[in-house]
């Protein structure tokens, strides 16, 4: 069975350094791509105009934490869709998708659905979430509206576990919260801050006046009050001989 919280069996697709297997892109492929680019409209992907860097925690194991790069397309004032990568380089691996909704929209969701979502207030107010390349002052208006939002983030490639290829079932991710087990490892934050020339501490200070949501729906960040996270299974039936039925 493929499960988001179980490590995949031994395979060359996992290994130290988690380098991507395969040959470098050939000139031929690059030419094909360039040709395509000239002739095709890439309208949907051109809508992403916001880049955020933050941290996410695995919903079934909050001690596993990753730096994420969200490339965000705002559909309307209440809804955003994000392509999530593990870095902001051209070599970045696409590791998942996150959807962000306003509190208004969130309240319309059934409670079973709400359990799959996480709140953003803490990570924004404490400076974990930042918009690389933008002066803090300019980031302000965006953060004001995002503080009250909720996110649903599915991770499809567990790169921090050494997976060289996207293995297993998708994993539900959670956000950092003001409790011990959900604080982001300071080393991770330090490294991020160093790379992007930002300071989480400074960001936190300048956002201290920012209005917090009056109330965060207790169904979100489900683990906090219920001690339960979620995993996804994809049952793949195997005979005892190892062959699929």
């Amino acid at each position: 069975m493929a499960s988001s919280d179980k490590k995949p069996g031994p395979t060359p697709a996992i290994g130290p350094g988690s380098t991507l297997p395969g040959k470098p892109t050939t000139l031929g492929s690059k030419l094909i791509e360039t040709g395509a680019m000239m002739l095709q409209s890439m309208a949907p992907v051109r809508q992403m105009n916001l880049h955020a860097c933050t941290f996410a925690l695995y919903g079934h194991d909050l001690s596993r934490q990753i730096e994420t790069h969200h490339f965000i397309h705002r559909i309307n004032q209440d809804f955003l869709q994000c392509a999530v990568y593990d870095s902001d380089k051209p070599s970045a691996r696409l590791i998942g998708v996150e959807y962000i909704v306003s509190d208004n929209i969130f309240e319309t969701l059934p409670s079973e659905e709400q359990k799959l979502w996480h709140s953003h207030a803490y990570e924004i107010k404490t400076g974990l979430w930042t918009l690389p390349g933008m002066p803090e002052l300019l980031q302000d208006p965006e953060h004001k509206s995002l503080t009250k939002t909720y996110g649903k983030f599915w991770c499809t490639w567990q790169v921090d576990r050494g997976d060289r290829l996207p293995l297993g079932a998708p994993s539900l991710m959670m956000s950092s919260q003001a409790v011990d087990i959900a604080r982001v490892n300071p080393e991770l934050v330090k490294e991020r801050d160093r790379k992007y020339g930002v300071s989480r501490g400074d960001a936190k200070e300048s956002r201290v006046e920012m209005a917090e949501p009056e109330w965060i729906n207790p169904n979100a960040d489900y683990w906090k009050q219920h001690g339960k996270g979620f995993a996804i299974d994809v049952p793949v039936e195997m005979k005892s001989s190892g062959a699929l039925i």
């Binding site: 069996g9 395969g22 892109t25 031929g28 395509a36 309208a43």
Partner: protein, 276 residues
């Protein structure tokens, strides 16, 4: 169109010069991306189907700025639009038109964002990863069923690159024909969900004649001015994986359904534990 006619020219140019030209084109592409992104944000954007208020002017303006100032390298690596059909791995009758926007991580691995249309208000509904046969074979046996082969949909004409005429398409489809893909959808637009509800769905691709709903097929053919039958004729000589389609691929010929399970998380403490 000029680039296609310039193909023979590129073969004569040495690698360095070609790469320089490619870089130039990349820069042009980035400028184009910014231009388009700015244009879009000056208009009121509100997706007809997704609930919510129209984007406020202040927000739109800010995002125009971020679109110009920030870096978007991972997204700029997306160079190709492919249209194909997916069905739910547990229900072949539910079929979705899937617009893939793909980029190479290297020669052997691609990653794609999947949208429900090629338009600017398209909903991001899923992800696909595409690997060459040799990499597929390295996957664990309980992973292989989550992947599907591309041979049938490429040879059948159902997978195509909108806007790219036969010759340009062919080069790439020859390669894609031999690859395997892993598709996960997060938004079940086909059942009318206004928002991405529920858990991720593993999707499969066409593997046999008669699977694709005729109405969906005709609709796509009409909107994109393609004929799957014509394409089939032209693609007769393409070949699938060298070792044949692996028996474990395509959900091992059975269905696959994702399930949600609760997992114990250690109790949350906002105070350090005190040992009494």
């Amino acid at each position: 169109m000029y680039l296609l006619s310039a193909f023979p020219f590129f073969q004569i140019l040495d690698e360095t010069r070609t790469l320089t030209i490619l870089n130039q084109l990349e820069i042009e592409n980035e400028k184009e991306r910014q231009r388009e992104s700015n244009l879009i944000n000056k208009m009121a954007t509100s997706h007809v189907d997704v609930p919510g208020e129209p984007t406020e002017t202040g927000t739109a303006l800010l995002e125009t700025a971020t679109g110009t100032i920030q870096g978007f390298q991972p997204v700029n690596n997306i160079h190709q639009h492919l249209c194909a059909f997916h069905f739910y791995a547990h229900d072949m009758t539910r079929q979705v038109e899937a617009h893939h926007f793909c980029g190479h991580l290297n020669e052997d691995v691609r990653q794609c964002l999947i949208y429900d249309s090629p338009d600017k208000d398209a909903r991001l509904i899923g992800i696909e990863y595409i690997v060459v046969e040799s990499l597929f074979l390295t996957l664990p046996d309980d992973e292989k069923p989550l992947w599907h082969s591309h041979e049938f949909e490429v040879k059948g004409g159902y997978l195509f690159m909108p806007g790219v005429p036969g010759m340009g398409e062919r080069q790439d489809l020859k390669q894609v024909c031999k690859t395997y893909g892993k598709v996960i959808h997060f938004w079940q637009v086909d059942r009318g969900d206004p928002l991405p509800l529920g858990i991720p769905q593993i999707m499969m691709a066409l593997t046999r004649p008669g699977q694709l709903d005729e109405n969906i097929a005709k609709d796509v053919e009409k909107r994109f001015g393609v004929s799957f039958e014509e394409q089939r004729e032209q693609r007769k000589d393409l070949t699938g994986p060298d070792h044949g389609i692996h028996p474990l691929a395509n959900a091992a010929g059975r269905g696959l359904k994702t399930e949600l399970r609760e997992v114990d998380i250690p109790p949350a403490t906002s105070m350090p534990r005190v040992f009494v």
